[in-house]
């Protein structure tokens, strides 16, 4: 089956929903495709019916936006995994919930694939009970179930606070929040935040909630290791400035640890969009302008996939891409110059807020350096292929000459079913740490990310055979 529309939006989170709503309201034919059985993405993920009945909707605006998009007649292909790009470089390949292959074509493609959580390994990170903050948030907010009774929340970034609050709401005892940086203290760097009172109120609300529950907030601390048998029973914290030396041990039965988010760019890269390394985060990001336009005509990247910036910025970016498409289509419903200027100003303000917020927390590139340098040799880094830090280090130093993809080849790190989504950040850090200074005149892979390969996720051979049969032959 081939669906051909005016606009194809990949990803039903805040950015994708905002773009789809605006485009459909202007009368364009929009297909919105999402891997999950329900729209919403990670941020607007719908709670289970039981949780809705008991606790209500923690993010009602998400439910309203989804209902609005559906009421506008957007063709919503939920449960569809987009895994590749056809030989024309434009048609997307997806698999439906029953394994049926679908080709998706449109004049304009909006990539709103979101972000991955940024994980970093430590001894014991594979123990049951160790989760990412995002997963814990999902369990707590959408299912009303915390990942354990005594939980430590650790890592870095503003997201740790709402996660700790959700865990409290779901009935967990949060033993503490350990933040790698020192964002929560009066500082001149925080002064620009005063221009964003709504954001500050939100933050103050989380801090107050944690204080009421007497949850300690430790700053400048990282997880040094976890221990346990059948599941995690204790966690050791260390100072961020000296992550190899344990400072204190906490008894827990769950640990939620993560260092924020990194853009999910595989689809944008398979579409041929130029990417570059972000100066602050070091993450590979598609090169986009204010409208989300990429180096590929007709391909837009918006939301976290274009650079992590939070829900408000994601929604504005989605709206900006929609505005540009409406202008290009000559739609009578296209926004006028004043509305464009207003949206752009909003986008710029939120971009400044992101930069300010980023500056309060340790930069991921710096964390990557610190954590990689002190990572224990025996720790498994790539869980899919069981590759240790020592193996990545020796591959990087002896054979790869500092080339990330060569280090993958020589160590197998990143070759398993997750294709480096979990270990990519850590492997890149280990390779960077192990590599000598680049030789003069030497050319080197400049982007700190594994190459994007299709299928983006493993695809059943049966699906490929069915796709080949659609083409009218057996290949």
């Amino acid at each position: 089956m081939t669906a051909s529309r005016d606009v194809l939006v990949v990803g039903g989170g805040p950015a994708g929903l905002s773009a789809a709503a605006r485009l459909a309201a202007a009368g364009l034919g929009v297909t919105l495709v999402d891997e999950q059985p329900e729209l919403g993405g990670q941020y607007y993920r719908r709670p289970s019916p039981a949780v809705l009945r008991e606790h209500g909707d923690h993010r009602p605006e998400g439910g309203r936006l989804i209902a609005h998009v559906r009421s506008l007649g957007v063709d919503c292909l939920t449960g569809h995994l987009v895994w590749g790009v056809d030989d024309d470089g434009r048609t997307l390949l997806a698999t439906g919930p029953d394994g049926t292959p679908v080709r998706l074509r449109a004049r304009h493609v909006i990539v709103a694939t979101g972000a991955y959580e940024r994980t970093h390994p430590f001894p014991g990170w594979q123990l049951p009970g160790v989760t990412t903050p995002g997963f814990a948030q999902h369990l707590a907010a959408a299912d009303g179930t915390p990942p354990g009774r005594r939980v430590l929340v650790a890592g870095s970034g503003p997201f740790l606070l709402p996660v700790a609050c959700s865990l409290l709401a779901a009935g967990a005892d949060v033993v503490g929040v350990a933040e790698a940086g020192h964002p929560y203290r009066p500082s001149l760097r925080a002064a620009p935040a005063l221009r964003h009172p709504a954001r500050l109120r939100e933050l103050a609300g989380y801090v107050a909630r944690l204080a009421r529950a007497r949850v300690p907030l430790w700053q400048g601390r990282v997880v040094n290791g976890a221990a346990g048998g059948d599941r995690v029973t204790s966690v050791t914290l260390a100072a961020t400035v000296d992550p190899g030396r344990p400072l204190r041990t906490l008894d827990v039965d769950a640990l939620c640890v993560g260092y924020g988010f990194r853009p999910q760019t595989e689809l944008a890269r398979l579409l041929g969009c130029e990417i570059s390394a972000d100066a602050v985060t070091g993450d590979a990001e598609p090169v986009t302008d204010a409208f989300g336009r990429t180096s590929r005509p007709g391909v837009y990247v918006v939301g976290e996939a274009a650079g992590v910036g939070g829900v408000h910025r994601a929604r504005v970016r989605g709206a900006m891409a929609a505005a540009h498409i409406l202008l290009r289509e000559g739609s009578p419903a296209a926004p006028g110059p004043r509305e464009i200027a207003r949206l752009a100003a909003q986008g710029r303000a939120l971009t400044r807020f992101t930069a300010m917020s980023d500056a309060l927390y340790p930069s991921p590139a710096r964390l990557q350096e610190v954590l990689a340098a002190t990572l224990d040799d025996d720790t498994i880094v790539c869980r899919c292929e069981a590759v240790t830090a020592a193996a990545v280090r020796s591959a990087a130093a002896e054979r790869a000459g500092g080339d990330l993809n060569a280090a993958k080849s020589w160590s197998r790190a990143g070759m398993g079913p997750c294709q480096g989504r979990f270990c990519g950040f850590a492997v890149a850090g280990l390779v960077r740490d192990a590599a000598e200074a680049p030789p003069a005149g030497g050319a080197r892979c400049g982007v700190p990310v594994f190459p994007a390969r299709q299928p983006v996720r493993p695809v059943p051979v049966e699906t490929l055979l069915a796709l080949g049969e659609q083409d009218g032959g057996d290949g």
């Binding site: 790009v85 020589w410 003069a440 299928p455 059943p460 796709l467």
Partner: protein
């Protein structure tokens, strides 16, 4: 910077460069190996790692001329023998596995080809056995109902290319070779009776240059003012998720581009030379979906258990093909001391070509007669030599 001196400059740190550097360094030559990027990252890092011992006269999809199978076989026999000693010589595991392989046929014409191929193999001293469809399925019950005949060769096998090239390079370095990755060659000039090679901020003078630059073989030769007709292409590979040990043998197709085997890690590797979307000499060549679908469909037809697997990843890599599909190895006429080696099946031939290149440098008889495989047949008027960056 003043020029260094060496006995041999090897250009290209792929499997051929590694093998040549190893054999030369072992022979006491001072060897410098240069590569534009990380070692073993192009054809040698993207190949499937098949050891082709029985005749391979099938064509890749898009391949215009068949190679000369009968001429190829004595070379394959010699290459096969050398693989037996590779792990001992290199003091490293390359996951070498000689568990044999099947070449299958599905049509009467393909069956006739199998029988003809078997006769050439006998003459070359390569033991193979012809089986009918049921005989093939008795030997390998995984084969599907469309298989009407097969040849079995106990010598076919596999080595892990991701271990082989590093092992060759490491052994070469142990014997004194110097390896310079991320050091693109910018100039190759005559200097006295030898050559001067400029790469990165390095200048090396040496009586011999060995151009084993794979898909860039022709471009490196052009820097030296030598015109060589090469026809590099990009081909793609497909790998499934891991599965328990299921397929111990290499399975190939006589009439279509198809090779399937299970690697040591457990993944099933499906290849056969299907073309990538295009050859991108500066990055990773993009894969073609129609080649994915075609190659995977063949594999699932010949080996029906493939239907139940999941495809994990695809990738493409360059293949340093020649217009006549035969290997090229030898000194360039009119350019004394400038040797080239390359062409398809370079992985299978690497141990043999490494030893052969050492003999050619030393002016000694090669272990196999390669006089008809020299670059003279590929010579053409040289294009004006462009600086390396522009040549790319």
């Amino acid at each position: 910077m003043s020029a260094q001196t060496a006995d041999v400059v090897v250009i290209g740190a792929g499997v051929l460069g590694g093998a040549a550097a190893f054999h030369l360094a072992l022979g006491g030559h001072r060897v410098i190996v240069l590569d534009r990027g990380a070692p073993g990252r192009e054809g040698s890092g993207t190949t499937a790692g098949n050891l082709h011992v029985q005749a391979v006269h099938t064509r890749r999809p898009g391949q215009e001329v068949p190679l000369d199978s009968a001429r190829f076989l004595p070379l394959q026999r010699a290459a096969s023998d050398r693989w037996n000693s590779v792990e001992a010589e290199l003091e490293a595991s390359v996951e070498l596995r000689r568990s044999g392989g099947f070449t299958i046929a599905e049509t009467p014409e393909q069956r006739a080809e199998l029988i003809a191929k078997h006769a050439w193999e006998e003459r070359a001293g390569i033991r193979t056995e012809v089986l009918d469809g049921d005989g093939a399925r008795a030997a390998l019950p995984l084969l599907g109902p469309t298989v009407t005949a097969a040849t079995w060769c106990p010598l076919d096998g596999y080595a892990n290319p991701l271990l082989t090239t590093p092992a060759y390079l490491a052994a070469a370095v142990r014997h004194g070779a110097r390896l310079h990755p991320f050091c693109p060659v910018r100039a190759v000039e005559r200097s006295g009776s030898g050559w001067r090679v400029t790469a990165g901020d390095l200048t090396v003078e040496a009586p011999h240059v060995v151009d084993v630059a794979g898909p860039w073989l022709g471009e490196i030769a052009a820097l030296a003012g030598i015109g060589l007709r090469m026809t590099p292409v990009a081909i793609q590979m497909h790998v499934t998720v891991r599965l328990p040990e299921t397929l111990r043998y290499l399975v190939q197709h006589i009439g279509e581009g198809l090779s399937v085997k299970q690697v040591t890690a457990g993944n099933l590797l499906i290849g056969g030379g299907w073309p990538a979307l295009r050859l991108d000499p500066d990055g990773r060549s993009p894969v073609s979906l129609s080649s994915v679908l075609g190659n995977v469909a063949q594999a699932a037809r010949v080996l029906p258990f493939v239907r139940d697997l999941r495809l994990l990843r695809t990738w493409a890599g360059p293949l340093a093909a020649t217009p006549d599909e035969m290997p090229v190895i030898g000194e360039v006429p009119g350019a004394p001391g400038f040797l080239v080696a390359g062409g398809t099946y370079a992985f299978t031939f690497a141990p043999l070509w490494g030893e052969t290149l050492r003999c050619l440098v030393e002016g000694k008889p090669a272990p196999v007669d390669v006089r008809d495989l020299g670059p003279d047949r590929l010579l053409e008027p040289a294009a004006p030599a462009a600086p390396y960056e522009e040549a790319r």
